[in-house]
């Protein structure tokens, strides 16, 4: 029943090969785009089939492993290429291939006329292949292969406009930061493999066996080390506090890339990894606390930066970082289901937002191009009043913005509120919960503020574009708007499959389908919680409603503030900036984090290696080697003086020799 699963990753790989090798010859763009999208559509269909088959199985046995071939076997270590089909991975392949397909369609229109067209689509297909591999992999090593594969594709796609130095730098920065994360991931794999093997003679890295043997692991201690290493990997990939600076720079890549990689799929890999190994993370409360705190801080921190950005894609990038912070907050408080739910809904509305901004940039670029002005097509200060020019894009963009700000009824509200409630009521962190909830709610308010600020600045008010270009602004072609509509619909409807229980009972007992669907994946951690849980969470319905109300209230406040600042009286932001120039400049320059990293890590590293090379390698080692040569030369110079060429010297030394020998023999 599941034997055609290997088609899911294979189809995009074939697409990659076709476009990669023959792309140059197939000049025609629609053929290239068509092949790529068809491949991803094929894998989407097969994943639907797999999901359907999986749902037909009873709840408990929804876990199937399909082995393709054994990859590396040496000594006690063996890793093989095998796929794990279970509710979590099915959900992920649906999201990846579904959103991926829509974005492929979108980029056929968006990338029209680019000179490396085939290269773009082959890399996009390669990305889909590695993401599916990551999600479907049944052991840590295969997940790591997908993990680095997506890192590589994000490097290739960010650096797509490689003639631009900033794009190439951004690509390199992304790859190195991901690599730092992978360093942590690798250490996690080694420690886990070594500990389980040497202490309990269980030499394995496959998820199912790890789950079944997870009872051997102690709470805290070594498990904290392992989970912290894995979390380091997650921060690298999903752009959390220490390693997030690469995501805003990744906006150098084409917008569909940002939509697919830096919003919907790749950045959620970290969240997926934690969900996949929930039985590990649940066993170390310290790591959960670390994840929760970092998640909350990232959410709040990124939201603050987002409020002051003028580049439309930078705002969305920081909003992605902040939403990821929410997901990690959910993971940190043990609400794995809520985290995955937010991951799914975020994929929909964030992809819609990015594609919408892409459409805006696309038409702005076209218009400015006609007017031969080289204003920045992405700067919101040149936009405004596009509501009338691009009605469809405006509507879809507005719907997605409402969803992300957590207005009740839309998907964002259900998933974000579930996370906030779990943060408040979870049994893990005791007093920390209030702080977590507070930061989450504040971040929600800021999210609402900067999202609506973006909407008002781009779509409302009078058009600030250069007059000549004004009439060239037009709605994007159908192939671009269609995915927008689908995604907007999903972001509206998406929330209903995971309605929190308290609201569900209100509307006549609609169960939380998603929670129920994902239960088998997290049963190990539930068992552990039931067994070890010191104190249970708070189950007070009234409190839940109260908190839900406050978070909606904060969101509404955010929207009204945005409205008053950017629509009603436009002067206030200027005066605000004048009042607090220092604060504004700090927030606008991303709290100088990039400069901080450069001065603390990058420049000293360069200086140190320069010292190592010039100082140590050249002077010390080569010096020593050449020194030996010079001393030998010097000694030979001295000995050469003896051959002075004067006979008397020779006679003298001969006589001296004779005398010495004679006296030696005599005295002996």
């Amino acid at each position: 029943m599941f034997d055609n699963v290997w088609l899911i990753p294979l189809l995009p790989f074939i697409g990659f090969l076709i476009n990669g090798l023959l792309g140059k010859r197939i000049k025609n763009e629609t053929v290239i785009g068509g092949i790529a999208s068809a491949m991803v559509l094929g894998s989407f269909i097969v994943s639907c089939l797999t999901l359907f088959n999986l749902l037909s199985l009873p709840g408990e046995e929804r876990q199937v492993e399909v082995k393709i071939f054994s990859w590396i076997t040496s000594g006690v270590f063996n890793a093989d290429v095998a796929f794990l089909i279970d509710p979590l991975s099915c959900l992920m392949i649906m999201v990846v291939s579904g959103v991926g397909f829509l974005i492929h369609l979108y980029s056929i229109g968006y990338m029209h006329g680019e000179e490396g067209y085939y290269r773009y689509f082959s890399y996009l297909n390669l990305f889909t292949f590695s993401m599916l591999l990551l999600v479907l992999g049944n052991n840590l090593l295969l997940m790591f292969v997908g993990w680095e594969g997506v890192g590589l594709c994000s490097y290739l796609l960010i650096g797509y406009y490689f003639h631009k130095k900033s794009a190439a730098d951004a690509g390199k920065k992304a790859f190195v930061m991901n690599r730092i994360g992978d360093f942590g991931f690798l250490l996690g794999i080694f420690t886990l493999f070594w500990y389980l093997g040497s202490s309990h003679n269980v030499w394995t890295i496959t998820f199912t066996e790890l789950a079944n043997n997870s009872h051997l692991l102690p709470t805290g201690g070594i498990v904290t080390v392992i989970t912290l290493c894995f979390f380091l990997g997650a921060t690298g990939k999903s752009a959390q506090i220490p390693l997030y600076t690469w995501l805003p720079d990744a906006m150098e890549g084409p917008t569909p890339v940002s939509a697919l990689i830096h919003a919907a799929t790749m950045v959620t890999a970290g969240v997926y990894m934690i969900a996949r190994m929930n039985y590990l993370f649940i066993r170390s409360p310290e790591t959960l606390a670390v994840i929760a705190v970092i998640g909350a801080c990232t959410a709040l921190f990124a939201a603050t930066i987002g409020t002051a950005q003028n580049d439309i894609k930078r705002v969305l990038a920081y909003s992605t970082v902040s939403q990821l912070g929410y997901m990690f907050l959910a993971m940190g408080v043990g609400a794995f289901g809520a985290g995955i739910f937010h991951l799914m809904t975020h994929a929909f509305f964030k992809a819609c937002l990015f594609l919408g901004s892409g459409a805006v940039i696309h038409s702005m670029h076209g218009a400015l191009h006609h007017a031969h002005s080289n204003d920045d097509a992405q700067d919101m200060r040149n936009m405004g009043g596009l509501r009338s020019k691009m009605p469809l894009t405006f509507i879809t963009f507005l719907l997605a913005t409402i969803a992300i700000s957590g207005i009740p009824g839309f998907s964002g509200f259900f998933s974000k509120d579930e996370i906030l409630w779990q943060a408040f009521s979870n049994p893990h962190h005791g007093s920390l919960n209030f702080l977590l909830w507070g930061m989450g709610a504040l971040a929600a308010g800021l999210t609402a503020f900067y999202m609506f600020r973006l909407v008002f600045m781009t779509f409302f008010g009078e058009c600030r574009i250069t007059p000549k270009a004004k009439d060239h602004l037009h709605e994007s072609p159908m192939i671009i708007v269609l995915p927008l509509i689908v995604l907007a619909g999903l972001s509206v409807v998406g929330g209903f499959i995971g309605i929190p229980k308290v609201i569900g009972d209100l509307f006549g007992g609609i169960p939380n389908y998603l929670e129920h669907y994902l239960d088998p994946v997290f049963k190990h951690s539930e068992e552990y919680m039931a067994h070890h849980g010191a104190h249970t969470g708070i189950h007070n319905i009234a409190l839940e409603w109260g908190l839900m109300g406050t978070s909606v209230l904060i969101a509404l406040i955010g929207i009204t503030v945005a409205y008053s600042l950017y629509v009603a009286n436009k002067g206030i932001p200027a005066r605000f900036v004048a009042a607090f120039p220092g604060l504004h400049r700090a927030v606008y320059n991303k709290w100088y984090i990039d400069e901080l990293y450069d001065n603390i890590i990058v420049n000293p590293c360069k200086a140190f290696s320069q010292f190592l090379w010039k100082g140590f390698d050249v002077i010390v080692i080569d010096g020593a080697v050449n020194g030996v040569a010079k001393t030998v030369m010097a000694c030979s110079g001295v000995f050469r003086l003896m051959q002075s060429g004067l006979i008397s010297n020779y006679a003298w030394s001969m006589a001296f020799g004779v005398v010495v020998m004679l006296s030696y023999f005599i005295l002996k």
């Binding site: 990859w71 590396i72 000594g75 360093f183 080694f190 202490s199 090379w613």
Partner: protein
């Protein structure tokens, strides 16, 4: 076909003899003929590969009396086993490519160049297959001479300095080794060993103190060749001055001679000393990885950068060797092959752009990706293989080394070495970006033409191998596994009595005193560690105060 091994070794010499009859002026005939000879040698080596049964014994053994001078009896004793098989195939595989790459590179004295290449090939193959230690030493020294001439005559500006340094560096090391050989032979002859064959010496019990000195002599000679950290400065000079083919062979095969020396001679002959020196040499290896990566980052010369990168890669290999477990060893053997392919390819690529622009400074390039797209993709694939991105060959070797290292006592060394993975990405990508991406503003770059058919023909087999070894490395691992199992079984018990470490080393986070046994290999499953508690000296959370089980100091317990 029991003489296939000698045939493969001396085929190039036959080629040299025939080369004499070809007139000096007809360059293309010379090149064509040499290419044909190396190709035939490659086919002959394929016969060895297909005829090789996967077991731990030496095969195609030829044992013929050779010299009997006074007490010394040397036999022409050659054979190939799991460990040396792939290295021989790598040699015969790389040679035709390097000959093909000197089509336009070398114009003057082509005949002598080809003769040097063929003699080099013979000496390399000979060194890998010789069981008789004296024969090994002869091939070991013989390979220096052609390389000395290749760098000395056809090299770059200060080639004399480079070739002199290279020659003397290796010579000094190998003289020490010769002394150790002779002393070992003396010990052997007292114990009734008739000749120089290394197999006899494997089970010769040498008391640890002598072992330490002998191991040091061998280790120094091979450390220079590897090159390990403090003794590596000859490599960048030799590479920058060597002609393309010369530096390809130097990087792809001659560096493996050092690590092969450890696996074949230094470790099995003196297991206790190997265990005692493991922390020191592992430290040097790890320093080598980080140090070479950092220094590579700031190089202006592409070839020097690649040279330092190969120092880093071989640091990984050495770490894998001193893990003394099957994963570590398999990983390092694989990494030797990967390094041969990826660094060989890198040097070929540097050779291509050097032939076009006659400069190696990174700052002279920029934006080549637009001008030479095919070259860009190949260069990208090889860079990824050198970084060790999964799916390429580099990753499999590195992963096995690190997981092997992590499992052995070298746990903290493996952790530091894993960070080498980050630096590898940094310097390779930074170089790749400065050379390929960015604006195509330099007028000279705008006229560069993309790779022609010959160059693509050189790079194609390498790229295919990169992916094949990355995706399906099992056939390679199966062939070498029995030999490695036997080697590890030979070395591992020695670690028991090497446990009498001087008190100073006691503080190192030595794993649980009773070596954690591996179910795969040893029957005796080690007593499982304290149930839930942290094994003593565990790298994790520093055990607050003494963990439940004090580290048993073998001295007191005796």
């Amino acid at each position: 076909m029991s003489y296939i091994l000698s045939l493969t070794t001396f085929l190039p010499i036959l080629g040299v003899l025939l080369l004499f009859f070809i007139p000096k002026e007809s360059k293309s005939v010379l090149r064509g003929f040499t290419f044909a000879v190396t190709l035939v040698t490659f086919l002959a080596s394929l016969l060895i590969l297909f005829g090789f049964q996967t077991n731990a014994e030496f095969q195609f053994v030829e044992n013929v009396p050779w010299i009997a001078a006074g007490p010394f009896v040397m036999r022409y004793n050659i054979g190939v086993d799991g460990i040396s098989l792939w290295l021989v195939i790598l040699t015969t595989f790389i040679m035709p490519l390097s000959v093909l790459s000197t089509w336009k590179a070398v114009e003057d004295k082509v005949k002598e160049y080809m003769i040097c290449l063929l003699i080099l090939e013979t000496s390399l193959i000979g060194a890998f297959i010789s069981i008789d230690m004296f024969l090994f030493y002869i091939y070991w020294e013989l390979m220096l001479i052609p390389m000395y001439f290749m760098i000395g005559i056809w090299g770059g500006k200060n080639r004399l300095y480079a070739t002199m340094k290279f020659f003397i560096y290796t010579m000094v090391g190998s003289l020490l080794m010769l002394v150790a050989f002779i002393y070992l032979y003396m010990l052997g002859s007292q114990a009734g060993i008739p000749d120089f064959s290394v197999l006899h010496f494997y089970n010769l019990r040498i008391d640890p103190t002598i072992q330490v000195w002998m191991f040091m002599a061998f280790a120094l000679a091979f450390a220079i060749k590897v090159p390990m950290f403090p003794l590596h400065t000859w490599l960048p000079d030799a590479h920058t001055e060597a002609p393309t083919a010369g530096s390809v062979i130097l990087a792809a095969i001659m560096l493996k001679m050092g690590t092969y020396g450890y696996v074949r001679f230094a470790m099995p002959l003196f297991p206790e000393a190997a265990h005692r020196f493991a922390p020191l040499l592992a430290t040097l290896a790890v320093i080598g990885i980080i140090y070479a990566a950092l220094v590579a980052m700031v190089q202006e010369d592409v070839k020097k950068l690649v040279a330092y990168s190969s120092v880093a890669h071989l640091g990984f290999v050495m770490l894998g060797l001193f893990a003394f477990n099957v994963q570590g060893m398999t990983g390092s053997m694989l990494q030797m092959l990967n390094h041969g392919i990826s660094t060989g390819a890198l040097f070929l690529i540097v050779g291509f752009i050097y032939e076009r622009r006659h400069t190696r400074l990174i700052s002279d390039f920029g934006g080549l990706a637009k001008q030479m797209p095919v070259f860009a993709t190949i260069f990208m694939i090889v860079t990824l293989s050198s970084i060790g991105v999964p799916g390429t060959n580099g990753f499999v070797g590195e992963f096995l080394i690190l997981i092997g290292g992590y499992e052995s006592e070298l746990r903290w060394w493996a952790v530091v070495a894993t960070s080498g993975v980050i630096f590898a990405a940094v310097y390779m990508l930074w170089m790749f970006q400065r050379v390929m991406f960015g604006e195509l503003n330099n007028p000279k770059n705008q006229k560069l033409l993309d790779l022609d058919a010959r160059e693509i023909a050189i790079m194609l087999p390498l790229v295919v191998l990169i992916f094949v070894m990355g995706v399906y490395p099992n056939p390679f691992i199966e062939k070498m596994d029995p030999a490695i199992q036997k080697l590890v079984a030979h070395i591992r018990p020695a670690s028991m009595n090497a446990k009498i470490l001087p008190a100073a080393l006691q503080s190192l986070p030595v794993g649980h005193p009773a070596m954690p046994g591996h179910s795969g290999m040893e029957e005796s499953t080690a007593p499982s560690a304290a149930s839930g508690q942290l094994p003593a000296g565990h790298p994790g959370i520093p055990a607050e105060g003494q963990s439940s089980e004090p580290v048993v100091n073998p001295h007191e317990s005796k």
